[in-house]
Amino acid sequence: MEENSICIPGERLGSSEQYQPGKGTYVRHGFVFASIAGSIKKESDKSGNLPLIHVQSIHTKQHIPQIGGIVICKMTQLTSAFAKCKIISVQGSNHTAAFRGIIRKEDVRATNRDKVEIYKSFRPGDIVVARVLSLGDALCYLLSTAENELGVVVALSENGTAMIPLAHDQMQCPITLLKQFRKVARPQSKHISFPENSKSALTNESTV
Amino acid sequence: MLKSKVIMVKTRSGKILKIVREHYLRDDIDNGLFGGKLDQHPELQNDLVSSEHFLIPDTNVVLHQMDVLEHSCIMNVIMLQTVLHEVKHRSSPVYKRIKSLCANPDKKFFVFTNEHCIDTYSARVKGESTNDMNDRLIRIAAKYYDKCLKDRNQTAVLVTNDRANCALAKKEGLDALTIEQYVKNIVGYPELLDKLAKADEAIEVDKSISYPEHLKLSQVQAGVKSGKFFQGKLGISRENYLEGKIITHGEDGKEILIQGRLNLNRAVHEDVVAVEMLPEDQWSNPSGVILDVTVQPGAEITDSEKKKSSGVPTGKVVGIIKRSWRPYCGILESFGSPEMTRHLFTPAEKRIPRIRIETRQAKTLIGQRIVVAIDSWPRFSKYPQGHFVKALGSVGDKDTENEVLLLEHDVAHEPFSQAVLNCLPPSDWSIPKEEFAVREDFRDLPICSVDPPGCTDIDDCLHHKDLGDGTVEVGVHIADVTHFIRPGTPIDNEAATRGTSVYLCDKRIDMVPELLSSNLCSLRDDGDRLAFSCIWIMKPNAEIVSTRFCKSVIRSKSSMTYAQAQMQIDDKTAKDPVTMGLRGLNKLAKILKHDRIEKGALSLSSPEVRFHVDSETHDPIDLQNKELRDTNSMVEEFMLLANCSVAKKIQQEFPECAVLRRHPEPPQSNFDVFLNAAKSRGLELNAATSRDLAVSLDRTEEPKEGIHSYISTLLRILATRCMMQAVYFCSGLESDFRHYGLAAPIYTHFTSPIRRYSDIMVHRLLAASIGADKTFSELLNKTEIQNVCKNLNFRHRMAQYAQRASVGLHTQLFFRSKVVHESGYVIFVRKNAVQVLIPKYGLEGTVFMDRDFEGNTTVNADDLKYIEDKCEITVRGVKLCVFDEVTVQISHDATNVQHQRINLKLVHPKINGISI
């Protein structure tokens, strides 16, 4: 199959001795098949493994949170033991009907875990970048912000303006100059890539 | 492939339905011109058409002129889909005929699917009626063909009966002719003109009669729906062609009487009609008068006879819902000069009115049996109008008369087609080795067959073996016809259509070709045969220990007649296994019969005679009553037992689709006349149940003072006539399985697959249930089975009628040059006649009480006294009562060459002016 050609579900892309199956494909009887419609992408692996073949959907549509994946969520409810949130975006796609997630107290920070206080880490309405730890129980995903790059990315002060990060645990309102505690994410654009539309979604969300 | 949509808006029961249907137009529809049926040079010449031409008939031509189209000279016809659809809608018999014409490769009738062809399709124009649209479609198709045929210098001729359509077609530049114009100018076939059906307008007005107008179909339907009219199939009385009745649809199915020409209002026997009830004071009773067509043409019941205090529901026909006219056999009336073209035709079936036809061949046709079809029955014509179809041969000739009775009873008697014969095994067929592997080998058993003399299609054999442990093994072996007749083959289809073999006095119309019926499947004693066996282990008291069924190979040790078998049984010296077996069977049969009768099985009787036929002329030279020996009933008992066992098995195995035979219990009212007649002679009979009837009939066998000994047989004959018809049915569609006459809870036919198709179906079911054969789709489809059963019931009835008619014909031939005095018995007393049965000849006839033996009315009403309750009639002081013995003179009346018949004249008792 040629690179960038279009395939449809059920189409045979090649043998599994030829390729490693990637996203949008599956292996059956020793062959790699497409499972979604889209264009075929191949990535050769430098370490000598078989080249990876995956199908890139033409639409950027629904994705569901994957373990180890990065999600963007919005805080909804805080307790002393955990913070509840709605997952509003997975891999850059925005969800209409959100999945729910929780961040437990011990997963907020990598260091000084026992000193974490939920109320000093998040506030309802904060937009948080988090990693999926596990599928949790039947009701919600277990998320973690215990990395420098994870944490609050957008938070609004009491008068409604976006606050500016001061330190790893503090943010300040540019107008009232009021300081608040947060588990702030270190902005790293190459690590966390925000597609255009999700940013606009974020601003929309924050103005509501 | 293009498509368009047809949108129709229909209303039904007030609701508005919008039905959208797709209609695909195609460019790949065969027009038959290239390499098809129409790729040739039509030879038929017509003075009005200059070139080689093909015919395109319109719907009305097909509907009314089938006899012309069926003529062998009419070939190369283009049948349009539009026409076929309309014909199908309007008349299913015509549709069947046209379909078979289209299927016949010699006729070269090509069906063109014009409405789906992109070149000939046209949508309905707004406001156009269906008729107009169809006419237009036909013209478009004709134009299309004209264009296509142009390069070949051929034309398409549109044949229509509709003047307006014809004119329109001409205006559009088409060759259009009316059928009359066309037929008149055909070169070389003048006889075709007689076959032309007359259009309505060409009929002269008969001033003597004016029938009430028929209501429109829509009015009739509305009336039936509202309950104002009743719908039903008209059945004309056998005795009086001006009296009929319908049985209304619905659960109660009440009977409505229709009397008189005007009330019948042009309805013909078997038409589906709408009837309006007359006011109750005009209700009347079925007349006891026998109308003899030949003596008094046009005799009608006078008003005085109609007057009765109470009557049965009586009505008049207001509309015809469906005609079921068919071609009728009969003769041309000899009145009038043969030079004239207008003639009256008298059908052989008494229930059909006479038909007016036009023919130029009257001279040759008089004295011949001919076939005539009805075309129409206008209001001002006393008789329906028809046309001549074909001549069968001279009246009185045996072959002609046989042909007539076969045609009249719709018995297929033409030779088997090549396709059917191709299904036969080679004539030197012998049992292949692999059959021995899957069949049980019964060739060593003492198997024998017992049949009437001269029987060549032996389908059953028996054996009896003492097992030595106090039980006996009894086997019934039936010819394995289904081994040769595989489902779905032409031979199977043909057998299913014929349904039964028909036994006429002098010939047999086979259901399957002779190679099977008289050789491979006939269980003769000349070699090995395939059989389907039913084996019982029985105790000496005929109690069944076990039953099993298997396919087998047998070798009959002896094919005997009933008489031979009886002699062997009686021959004390014979000790061979076959004879021993026969004795054993005979003993068991008696026990079985006894048990059966105990349960309430009826032993009825019908006067049956056998004709001895001259070996050369095939004319009957003598006749004798069928004798009943023990051996007859022995074979019968075991066949009944086999049938019952098989019925149980297949019903168990295939509860939804077993083919069974049911004999409904007759309603008590059927017995009224019969019980009344018996009562008038002091015999109290009870017909509440079959057992009661059997017991009370047996009681009549005891001699009683003042009554002759034959009365018991007479009563049995009459009781038979009160019975319902036994019918085949599919077990999945009925709940009542009982067989009244045999007093069996379940019954079927298994034992005569050579001559009955029902048995073939039963064989297949049984084979499937024991794993000896595969099932197939039609076998397990209950509606399919019910359809086959319906046809079988019809064929059986027709076969019976044909058999009866054949006996009648032979009786006539037998008495052709004889005058015999013979004693007979009065079996019915009517208002003006008595019905007499002569047991010796199995002959039944009417002796009129109001006219002398020459047919002149001599007795006036005062001298005639008829007491219905007592079943007696007194003429000039001489009393005749039912079951009285009389002596009659039997003679053959050939005074009317065209209408020969048997005449009965009273000899004893002497009645002045009536008896000889």
């Binding site: 499972s35 979604i36 033409i58 569901i64 209409t96 | 249907r21 137009l25």
Partner: protein, 247 residues
């Protein structure tokens, strides 16, 4: 009552093994995650897909930890048949249909990729003229592809009936009414697997093979048609039209 004339044409002019005209469209709704519209002759069906998303509140009990569950809702417009009739959502026929479609797609969608989530398939019949199940399945397949949900293969469905030993495929309402047995099946054409089959009425077992063959061929024809015709006539969005890009 003849379903097929001696010349081999059906009521509407088709031959026994011909499909009705198939027209389809994808991405007809912007709100749904995936949507499609299909016409098979006069049978017209709209399909909309929502998901995969977290199970809605009233479906919590159906959540599976290792795969998604499919929720199917089938409804028929009250003007969809000859007679205007009010149809409630939960009538028996609708429930059966929903269950059958759900079963079909549970076999085709790679549900294990979407644990703990729900995929909604909404089907709306605009006009019914026979072979409803088949049109619904075909519409839903297109909508699922539109939604980018991973499937093992296309799912194509086709119906067939048997008369006079000839099998008629893609039967319309008139042919359904004739009372012959109706066989419907959904197959995955490229994997050559039957994932759903249903028989209404009785046929003999010997005839089943013929019917299955006819239906399989019909499904493959449908596949060929929707594969080729997947072009959308409205030019709003990209939408998948893989084959047309190919050729």
């Amino acid at each position: 009552f003849e379903l097929i004339s001696d010349e081999g044409y059906r009521f509407d002019g088709r031959k026994p093994s011909e499909l009705r005209r198939v027209r389809c469209n994808m991405g007809v709704f912007t709100q749904a995650d995936g949507s499609a519209y299909i016409e098979q002759g006069n049978t017209k069906v709209l399909a909309a897909i929502y998901g995969p998303h977290e199970a809605s509140n009233n479906m919590r009990s159906r959540v599976c930890l290792d795969k998604c569950f499919i929720n199917c809702e089938f409804s028929q417009a009250m003007f969809s048949s000859a007679e205007r009739k009010k149809r409630s959502r939960g009538d028996r026929k609708g429930k059966d249909m929903s269950a059958h479609i759900k079963q079909t797609f549970e076999a085709a969608v790679r549900t294990q990729l979407y644990p703990r989530s729900q995929i909604d398939i909404y089907l709306q019949v605009l006009h019914s003229d026979g072979s409803l199940y088949c049109a619904c399945v075909n519409a839903a397949t297109l909508a699922l592809i539109d939604a980018g949900i991973a499937m093992k293969d296309y799912v194509c469905a086709c119906s067939a009936s048997l008369t006079k030993e000839t099998s008629l495929i893609d039967i319309n309402h008139v042919e359904e009414l004739a009372g012959c047995a109706e066989f419907s099946a959904a197959i995955m054409p490229k994997l050559d697997q039957i994932i759903y089959s249903e028989l209404n009425g009785r046929i003999h077992q010997d005839e089943l093979g013929q019917l299955v063959d006819a239906v399989t061929n019909g499904c493959k024809d449908i596949f060929a048609v929707i594969d080729r015709f997947e072009v959308i006539t409205d030019n709003t969005e990209i939408a998948v039209s893989p084959r047309s890009l190919h050729s």
